[in-house]
Amino acid sequence: MFPSKKPTMNSHERPMSCVQGDSGLVLTTDPKPRLRWTVELHDRFVDAVTQLGGPDKATPKTIMRVMGVKGLTLYHLKSHLQKFRLGKQPHKELNDHSVKDASALEMQRNGASSSGIMSRTMNDRNVHITEAIRMQMEVQRRLHEQLEVQKHLQMRIEAQGKYMQTILEKACQTLAGEGMASGSYKALGNQGVVDMAAMKDMGSQMSYPSLQDLQLYGGDQLDMQQQMDRPLDGFFPTNEGICLGKKRTHPYSSNGKSPLIWVDDFRLQELGSAAACMGTQEEPSKSDQLQLAPSVIDSGMDMDSMTDVYETKPVLSTDSMGEKKYEGSSKLERPSPQRATLPVERINPMIRGGALPQTRNISYG
């Protein structure tokens, strides 16, 4: 690197003789041809760089083109650009002692002489450059901070999600402990597994979303409408193998393919035979109160409500289907009190794509 940028001085003060070329470039006549970066030239340089989008985006070739200064070579520009990027004040790079002395001299003359003015301007110029560079660094620092925050946020969200899981698991276990027929319980458990375990895997990726993942929910609605296959991933309680400790691992397909098609006929039939009531209970409404939709929820937790069912309350299976116009054929049923909403309904929230209209019909039978 040759120290090409020097504080401009009147040529007669310089030990080296300089020639002012036609192009306006000041070239020294010492053996190594050096380009002197005058204030004006440097200004043009900075303008060109800014035009091109900053020192990182600009290349010597493009700068040369933009500047349109004759006699300027890529070599000059490369080194000047590098210095610019590094943000060092150009005259600090000088190795030449004589020049340093000269610059020191020049500093002393700042008060009065025109060279002083020129150098002050040069200093301002440098100051501007360093300001710009400082701002850049500030921006980088902020970005870095933001990444830190992001990292922590993600960990915190995960921790919260894990804790929520423990709540739901414990709730389930408590309810599971409360005397149930093992047969139906098992079926329920299976269904719970079917729902939960798979959900868990997806849930564990969705409940603790990476930022991009959750963006999908917020933004990518068209996608969701088209595919309709990612309805409640991760929104359902993600219990691990809910009560039976079984787990199924399913790869989480991030390509949007429905992860739910795994629910096969067999399982549905098995569930269809369960006599257990999984629907949530609603008090027989007072005449004045609106009957708000007791939508079935997809959780193994309301096994406890089974005990209630066998005693008294009629269960209204209702409009939980009402919203599923886009789900293909779904039949509304009003089950008898003992046999309330079929467990199959509990899967329904996940089977949005109408993937199993036929199986659903079967199990309704």
Binding site: R156, Y217, F235, F236, I297, T318
Partner: protein, 516 residues
């Protein structure tokens, strides 16, 4: 988009065809209502008819004008339509003669709700009017006549249904408590459902996380150097807030091992102690899994729900933090709606306990109107915004939202309307604390950044803004919904003699109390 209406009701489906029959949307009134016996007073019928048909009555109009000028309503036309490219799939065919677009209907629902509220706030006679209006409302919001419930209705219909129920509860007076008793008896059967719905809500919206994370970050910053941390939590609920705090404590990069964390949960006498103990066990297990030293305790409120600082054991060398999350309860049974006096006594205890910092999370936009109707409308706006936010973020998850609405938001709405009816227009706690001499502790850059990032995970409509140096407010599209603020306790009054059994932490420095 509706250009004829005064205001745009958010959350209503968009494809409205303006009804042409002279503005009266419901020419086919349900035969269920026999107006004969109800109109003991002729004026009622005329009044009700007038309200049904048009905007030109005095009763409803006042309410409408108020809303018409509300910036939120005017600036948020049918957010559902803007956020989704296609009409929401659950748009039903209106049963009212197919008349009136959904926007119209939404408008009328709001009119009726406000009219009912006004009637309720009036003298006794107008309770009959209120009753009539509510009957009509019920028809409107459950098109199939009750059996289908309102799960299939539009957002606006569902929202109106919950408010209708809430108003009905007010009307029935004593049976409102019967309702809560009902829900309490449901507790066992429903607690799992409620928890599931709660998690859904958490996944779908940032409301809860915002408050927790902001408070936690401020707490982290305040206790950075201490080796023992003692948090006194006014309403521990399920303890969800502390999970992420523990995680943050164990993963501090600075080098010092995680401080010993002690949490004291403030409980009411009698009810819910078992639940709180369960929460404590859960937190302890979670802490163990993280390797976070932890202990848990309870502190009972007095019989009058007041907080007594002496009830909290303070160990020498620990730094005390007060945490006060005043969000409406989500679990039906744990409806610990403690009065303002209780909260005040808790906050006042900060000085006595020598707390380092006090974190307060509360609902924003609490209407400070002196009258019920104003507060009612405030709640209507609030929940309308919440509805919108859920719908905008997750338009397809109708069932999940329905569940959340039924199990969490519905009860909250009922509670909010009840409180609005009884309350006398209390403002937020911020002003009270400022008056009592609490200092403001600045929200750090990290904290603010974290809040922004958190909201960015959800929908675009969420906004966080600073309200003073110590408060962040979360809102949905210019409707402020919840806020988190950080305070330092006022210097203890010289007159108060601290009880002997309290050892005030000696490690507190006066300087650098303020962050940033």
């Amino acid at each position: 988009m509706e250009e004829a209406g005064d205001l745009e009701i958010s959350g209503v489906g968009s494809n409205s065809t303006i009804n042409d029959d002279g503005g009266c949307a419901w020419t086919d009134w349900s035969p269920v209502i026999d107006w004969g016996p109800l109109s003991a007073d002729d004026d009622f019928r005329g009044l009700v008819e007038a309200m049904m048909c048009d905007d030109n009555d005095d009763v409803a109009h006042a309410g409408v004008t108020r809303m018409a000028y509300d910036p939120y309503w005017n600036s948020n036309p049918s957010s559902t339509t803007t956020s989704t490219g296609t009409p929401p799939a659950e748009e039903p065919s209106s049963s009212d003669g197919g008349g009136g677009g959904n926007d119209d209907k939404g408008l009328r629902l709001v009119h009726l709700l406000v009219a009912a509220a006004e009637a309720l706030a009036g003298p006794y006679k107008s309770r009959e009017l209120a009753r009539v209006i509510l009957v009509r409302l019920k028809e409107l919001v459950s098109p199939a006549g009750g059996a289908a419930g309102c799960g299939g209705g539009t957002s606006m219909e569902r929202l109106a249904a919950y408010f209708t129920n809430a108003l009905q509860g007010l009307l029935d007076g004593s049976s409102a408590t019967a309702c809560s008793r009902q829900s309490a008896s449901h507790l066992d059967g429903q607690v799992g459902d409620v928890l599931a719905a709660f998690q859904l809500l958490q996944d779908m919206s940032p409301y809860e996380k915002f408050g927790h994370f902001t408070a936690n970050q401020a707490i982290l910053e305040a206790v950075a150097r201490y080796r023992r941390v003692h948090i006194v939590d006014y309403d521990i609920a399920e303890g969800v807030q502390w999970a992420s705090l523990m995680q943050a404590l164990v993963s501090r990069k600075d080098g010092p091992p995680p401080p010993h964390l002690r949490i004291t949960a403030v409980t009411q006498r009698g009810s819910g102690t078992r639940a709180v103990q369960e929460t404590g066990r859960r937190l302890a297990a979670f802490a163990a899994s993280l390797g976070q030293p932890f202990s848990f305790g309870q502190c009972r409120l007095e019989a009058d729900e007041r907080f007594r600082p002496a009830g909290v054991k303070v160990v020498k060398g620990e730094t005390v933090v007060l945490n006060c999350v005043l969000q409406p309860p989500h679990a039906a049974g744990a409806a610990t709606t403690r009065g303002a006096g209780s909260v005040a006594s808790f906050l006042s205890g900060a000085a006595t306990l020598g707390a380092r910092v006090v974190a307060v999370v509360e609902e924003e936009g609490v209407a400070e109107d002196g009258n019920f109707v104003g507060r009612f409308m405030g709640e209507l706006h609030r929940y309308s915004a919440v509805w919108d936010s859920l719908e905008a973020g997750f338009p397809m998850q109708g069932r999940a939202r329905g569940l959340v609405e039924r199990l969490i938001l519905g009860p909250r709405i009922a509670g909010a309307v009840r409180r609005a009816y009884r309350a006398t227009g209390e403002g937020g706690w911020g002003e009270w604390m400022a008056r009592m001499g609490f200092g403001r502790v600045g929200i750090s850059c990290f904290n603010h950044c974290q809040a922004r990032l958190l909201l960015g995970l959800f929908s675009d409509g969420y906004q966080v803004e600073e309200d003073g140096p110590n408060k962040l407010v979360l809102g949905w599209k210019s409707r402020r919904l919840t806020s988190a603020s950080i305070w330092s306790p006022p210097p203890p009054a010289p007159a108060s003699v601290p009880p002997a059994n309290i050892g005030v932490s000696s490690s507190m420095e006066d300087s650098d109390f303020l962050l940033d």
